[in-house]
Amino acid sequence: MKKTIFKTIKDLPRHHPLGAGTPACGGCGALEDIKLFCDILGEKTIFVNAAGCMTLLSVYPFTPFRGSWIYTAMASAPAGAQGVRDALDVLIQKKRLRPEDDLQVVVLTGDGSAYGMGLSATSGAMDRNLDFIYLCYDNEGYGNTGHQYSAATPHGAQTATSPEAGGYWGYKKDLFSIWAAHRPSYVATVSGSDPLDMARKIKKAKDLKGPRMFIALAPCPTGWHYDPKETVAIGKLAVKTGIWPLKEYIDGKVTHSKKPLSKEKRPGVEEYLEKQGRFAHLFKPRRNDELLAEIQARVDDYWDNIP
């Protein structure tokens, strides 16, 4: 495996191409993710966007991106990436574009699109071995419309459409495995609160060809109901408690890039959950021991089965 240059935080790029002053909410975890992608991928990029919070990064006549941008629709950003990639290839092949003016095509969608409406187009893009990077910022709900539950919402989370005492009745869809089953070049989960792990994975993907797929945890102050200053802390706890596994799929194998401590030593899921208003019902007015135990058991079960 290729050695990456990111050993410590100091090795991360100092140049941040993504402009400041966007309309994103304070403490937006998705913006944290996108910033690092821009840092590593550079300016020769085109972001192909699907409907979601980040659609509002580019509002006429402003954009924070140094590279290009196209908004498509909620369901078809990967298809949009196909058109751009193919057209760039045709232009280079017919000598109407210099190879050095080529662009890295990056799909940017939220979980609403990635886990649901856009899944068919994403599957198609992987079937066709499209040479692109896909960044799903996963804030675990339809964030831009006020945080209703999506297929990415974790069990028990209260959302605008699961306001009941037990929270969301469903279980977060395993998109990583669905994507990996397509056998693309690369799949990874990342978290903006673990920038070194994330930077290494982006760098690795940058040097590959074919579909390179990312699911980035995107803590969301307005949807998860916490103080914006907690975004990084919550992101870190998601990894430390084992709720958000950091892993990658490459060459048919899944490996974990950072494992939480053993069951006995790692912090319980409670530490992560109690910081967020969407899980407040687990603690107030009465502790919901049963549901807490279920959530903990699911996390423990996941790690017990990791070789």
């Binding site: 300016e43 020769k44 085109i46 192909v48 659609t55 509002l56 580019s58 509002v59 006429y60 954009t63 991106f65 140094r66 590279g67 290009s68 941008w69 196209i70 908004y71 498509t72 629709a73 369901a75 078809s76 990967p78 298809a79 949009g80 990436a81 196909q82 058109g83 751009v84 193919d86 057209a87 760039l88 290839d89 045709v90 232009l91 017919k94 109407r96 574009l97 050095e100 003016d101 080529d102 662009l103 068919s120 187009a121 599957s123 198609g124 079937d127 066709r128």
Partner: protein
């Protein structure tokens, strides 16, 4: 020059080949599929230097067509019916990108009930999208319309995608003699694509399809697209004259057939207009002064040319091969809206609905429509819109219902 026997689908493919396209995102659907299969074979044989990709849906296909056009290549795609509707979100979206490409729609009636044969409800659902629309009545027109569509959409005064429409089965699978322009003639008419400022490349970043907040900005861009569409009217006339010089074939935004001295006129779209021409010839022999007016260009709507053709006519039989549920014929509404303020407008417009789902319109029915329209013009009383259906058809339908068992609501 010797004509070649081609189906409407074959003629479309020929036109696309002559246009020298770079990129073909595709998705199969009856009755369009023959077009993409034909192109796939030519690409495979190295006769076309084009990249083809079969997408996962029409929604994806139209997205890819739009983004590729926005990247700066010449794009073609094709669909029908449910496919056009499945991609409708993107039909509206990509039109606003002002990145021209051509989409051939092979008309097929819409579900439900699901069916295969044509009417125009599919293509008319795209009426307000910003796509220009050219409607064909013969296979020759299909080939020529594809070349015209690229010139029209790519013109710097227009910069809009174009739908070329042909009727499923009646044109798509019907062989007619077609004159195929030489490669040289086609190239004289249609130069290689100049994307102008429409591109994505490093060092020259562009943001496309960005959000606007507020009605003022939104209105500005929507008006701009509308005005570009209106400008396409004069551009169409201009390029048709140029095409005529090269091929000798005369095209106008509106076709008039025996209209000069006509008192009664059929007004309709597409291949069934050739049936109307046949009826016109028969009726002329009986002494009735009948003609036909057929818009080739449907978007932009060639209002002035239609008004000229219909000035001082006694009556117009508007034959709609579509049905706006709860309202009636779409063409009838379009026509009424442009004639209302005209002093020399026809005395009566009579509305007929026919040819839905491929149902034929017989010559006898054209005679009947002419008779009803004459009567309306003489009495000054316009009858209620008529849904064409014969007693024999109804009897057959009753037979089928007796087999199926009748549970339809409101029967």
């Amino acid at each position: 020059m010797k004509p070649t026997l081609l189906t409407g689908n074959g003629a479309a493919a020929r036109g696309v080949r002559l246009a020298g396209i770079d990129y073909l995102p595709a998705f199969p659907i009856t009755p369009q599929t023959e077009i993409i299969e034909t192109l796939a074979q030519w690409i495979q044989a190295g006769e076309m230097d084009c990249r083809m990709v079969t997408m996962d849906s029409e929604h994806s296909m139209i997205t890819a067509a739009g983004t590729a056009a926005a990247t700066g290549v010449r794009v073609f795609t094709a669909t029908s019916s449910q496919g056009l509707l499945y991609g409708m979100e993107m039909i509206y979206t990509v039109a606003g990108w002002r990145a021209p490409f051509v989409l051939v729609n092979v008309s097929r009636a819409l579900s439900s009930p699901i069916t295969l044969e044509p009417d125009h409800n599919d293509v008319l659902a795209a009426r307000d999208s910003g796509f220009l629309q050219i409607h064909c009545s013969t296979c020759q027109e299909v080939l020529d319309a594809v070349l015209l569509a690229y010139r029209l959409g790519e013109d710097e005064r227009v910069r809009l995608p174009v739908i070329v429409n042909l009727d499923g089965y009646y044109l798509s699978f019907t062989r007619e003699p077609v004159l195929i322009p030489s490669r040289k003639e086609a190239a004289r008419f249609l130069a290689p694509y100049d994307p102008g400022e429409t591109h994505f490349r490093a060092g020259d970043p562009v943001s496309q399809g960005v959000a606007v907040l507020g009605g003022s900005q939104y209105s500005y861009f929507r008006y701009e697209t509308h005005l570009a569409s209106i400008q396409a009217l004069s551009v169409f006339n201009e390029i048709c004259r140029e095409y005529e010089k090269i091929t000798g074939r005369v095209y106008e935004a509106v076709e008039g057939y025996r209209t000069t001295d006509a008192e009664i006129v059929f007004f309709m779209l597409g291949s069934f207009a050739t049936k109307a021409k046949d009826a016109v010839d028969h009726l002329r022999k009986t002494g009735l002064k009948v003609g036909l007016v057929r818009p080739r260009l449907f978007r932009p709507f060639p209002a002035q040319a239609i008004i000229r053709h219909l000035a001082d006519k006694k009556g117009v039989a508007v034959v709609d091969q579509n049905l706006s549920q709860g309202k009636g014929g779409i063409l009838h509404a379009e026509l009424s809206s442009i004639l209302y303020n005209e002093e020399r407008r026809p005395c009566v417009l009579v509305s007929f609905i026919g040819g839905l789902g491929g149902r034929d319109i017989s010559v006898e029915e054209f005679f009947e429509m002419a008779r009803v329209t004459v009567q309306a013009a003489e009495s000054g009383k316009t009858p209620a819109p008529r849904l064409l259906y014969t007693h024999e058809e109804l009897a057959r339908m009753r037979g089928l219902q007796s087999i199926a068992g009748n549970r339809s609501p409101g029967h």
